[in-house]
Amino acid sequence: MQLSIRHLLGLDGVSEQDITTILDAADAMKKVLQRPIPKVPTLKGKTVVNLFYENSTRTRISFELAEKRLSADTVNFSTSTSSVKKGETLKDTIKNIEAMRIDYVVMRHGVPGSSHYLANCVDASVVNAGDGPHEHPTQALLDMMTIREKRGTLKGLKVCLVGDITHSRVSRSNVYGLLACGAEVGVCGPATLIPYDMQDMGITVYPHIEDALAESDVLNVLRIQLERQKGALFPTLREYRNLFGITEARLEKAKSDVTILHPGPMNRGVEIDSEVADGPQAVILDQVTNGVAVRMAILYLLAGGRSSFEGVDNE
């Protein structure tokens, strides 16, 4: 049960086998989190640098908790208080940190491909915590873990992502991961926020929310950002809610057992109403718990399991 990849840069090209390995390990890690002492010594002595070029409280905290639960040493590096403000390049920043002997870098950066670039510069294992609008693999994995938990399987399930797809790394990673595991994927949102030729990824583009609701088993509701108004992408949050918001009334048009996800933070009353977010079909808080478990699983699997040494199983 080993991973065939050395870094987690995205889910594009990652096999179903590897995804299943991660999700299975995450299930076990979740059990560890439920123990009276939710800590194991597995990564003792390993150092993880959380390199966050973009602010993100929840993702960083989730990674930090995962690292600490595995007894790793964590170092946090955020750009507001750092050398980056003085003009240091990404490469120099990481080379300086690496010179202090680290094992993992967890990076969030605003530019697509930045974690690929990093993986070429350093010896440490790289985990992409979000590279611009490109990918956010740990988020998609925790989404998939939550869906699998609630629905039993991913195969054949119809999952639809709703919202600003163009700028969403969550949606891209989810598309790659879900397709790899045999799910059927759709996206729904304003036409100005669906990227060019996205159906060529092997997914369905629903121009209207009603069609998505009728067909989907799972809805992953994405956050809509106010700033997009300025780019002539949509007029107001009010209009967005009228056309795409997941309200209680809309939920009634959906399948009766539909599962609702949201990566957070939520704009209550915009893309999702409180009654839905706090209702029985939403698994949003499970996503948060599973986030720590999935991140523990990834750090654990990337570090070890690389060699199979015959003759060492009885000790």
């Binding site: 690929h116 060529d200 990824m201």
Partner: protein, 435 residues
């Protein structure tokens, strides 16, 4: 840049023995010896080397063609000599099989006055490679007032462009075309609607959807090409479109030519051999403007180069220092070098594959640039200037940017295994042979 010295040797008398002479201007394609004396072709036919006192070059298996000119390069001097100088750029041209280059004016300071052209001429003096300066259309490339094109032309500027930037104002572009026509100098536009481009870094297509990068839609180029060909039609003045990259631009140019509008165009080897799928590797040497486009665009461009809709192949050689490229994709500078790969890439990927004939290739590299710049013709006949490019269609080599004469090594073709490349160049009584 590597430590090898790239130097031409002076030779007043050169005998090229046993080469295959190919010239689409005269319909020549024959094996013959060619004698050069004091910079001119003096004899073609069977020449006994024992009767010659001069340099004898064995050209068996090589092709001899009129000298290639790269009509679109950036030489970075004055202002960014760490990326390239006029000398290193000329060395790169020489090593790449070119006898002439036309550098764009977006240097620091901008080439928008006569004395700037004087400087370029001075820096270029004595080199085997001819430098044909391109002056700015507008002062400081600001796009507002016309620069002193007349003055610059006197000093030797052959054409004018604001390249790097488009001439955004249709009004200024119209006046520039009228003025350039009056002077008999080409006006070259970098066709790009900057507002549509926005913050884009790659072509807008399925590839940009996959990577999450902001895209530069093809219409950013074609909308302005449409404007320019219509202006050319209205003013009855010529216009030259730089680095064409889209099938829509090809369509517009083909249509304009069918109406006898005086439009000419160029494209680059990378648009003919690469697509935006290459950006998925996040290699910053796939980042340039205009960006790599789709396979459909690539095929349309090859067809256009073959049928003459696109007149010339130029490289848009844009050297950048490692510091400007070795970074994340957003931060990396736009641009790739091309002088030392153009001939090999076109020979290997387009001529060997049968998509372009050798004659067409020579037309695009050697004949069209001279026509567009109103330079004297160079033909493979006695009496002509001996500006020659030698080609080796058999030589096998691998592209290694760090071994180039250019000071920079930002090539998108790194590692490509090619069959075919330049064998040498002859110009103004100097000879350079590739090893």
């Amino acid at each position: 840049m590597n430590s090898k010295i790239f130097k031409a040797e002076a030779a007043d008398c050169i005998l090229l023995k046993g080469g295959r002479l190919v010239d689409p201007q005269t319909g020549t394609d024959e094996k013959a010896d060619l004698l050069i004396e004091s910079g001119k072709i003096t004899k073609i036919g069977k020449i006994d080397e024992k009767t010659i006192e001069g340099r004898v070059v064995d050209c068996k298996g090589k092709i001899i063609a009129p000298g290639f000119i790269d009509m679109h390069v950036h030489l970075r001097e004055p202002g960014e000599e760490h990326k390239e100088t006029i000398e290193s750029g000329c060395n790169a041209a020489m090593n790449g099989g070119f006898t002439g280059v036309a550098p764009m004016p977006n240097t620091t300071p901008v080439t928008d006055q006569r004395n700037h052209v004087t400087f370029i001429n001075r820096q270029a003096k004595g080199h085997l490679v001819d430098v044909y300066p391109i002056g700015a259309i507008t002062k400081g490339l600001k796009g507002e007032e016309l620069a002193e094109m007349g003055e610059m032309k006197v000093e030797g500027a052959v054409a004018f462009s604001d390249d790097g930037r488009p001439v955004e104002s249709g009004q200024v572009m119209r006046r520039a075309m009228e003025y350039g026509n009056m002077l008999g100098a080409a006006i070259i536009n970098h066709a790009e609607d900057l507002a549509i481009t926005g913050a884009g870094v790659m072509n807008e297509s399925f590839s940009s959807t996959e990577t999450g990068f902001r895209g530069i839609p093809s219409v950013s180029e074609s909308a302005m090409v449409a404007r320019d060909v219509l202006l050319a039609e209205f003013t009855r003045c010529p216009v030259h479109i730089a680095h064409v990259s889209t099938k829509e631009s090809v369509r517009l140019i083909r249509d304009a030519k069918s109406r006898n509008v005086k439009v000419t165009a160029e494209t680059c080897p990378h648009y003919l051999t690469m697509t935006d799928k290459a950006v998925k590797t996040f290699n910053t040497n796939t980042k340039m403007k205009p960006p790599l486009r789709t396979e459909e665009d690539r095929l349309a461009l090859i067809e256009a180069v073959a049928d003459g809709t696109i007149d010339a192949i130029a490289t848009d050689h844009a050297p950048h220092h490692e510091d400007d490229k070795d970074n994340d994709y957003h931060s990396a500078a736009f641009g790739v070098i091309g002088l030392e790969t153009a001939v090999g890439v076109v020979l290997d990927r387009l001529v060997q594959s049968g998509q372009l004939t050798l004659e067409t290739m020579i037309e695009r590299f050697a004949v069209a640039p001279r026509r567009i710049f109103h330079l004297p013709e160079v033909k493979l006949e006695t009496g002509s200037e001996a500006s020659l490019t030698l080609l080796d269609t058999e030589k096998k080599w691998t592209v290694k940017g760090r071994e180039f004469a250019s000071l920079s090594f930002n090539t998108p073709f790194e590692g490509w295994a090619l069959t075919g490349g330049p064998a040498g160049v002859i110009n103004k009584g100097q000879l350079y042979l590739n090893d």
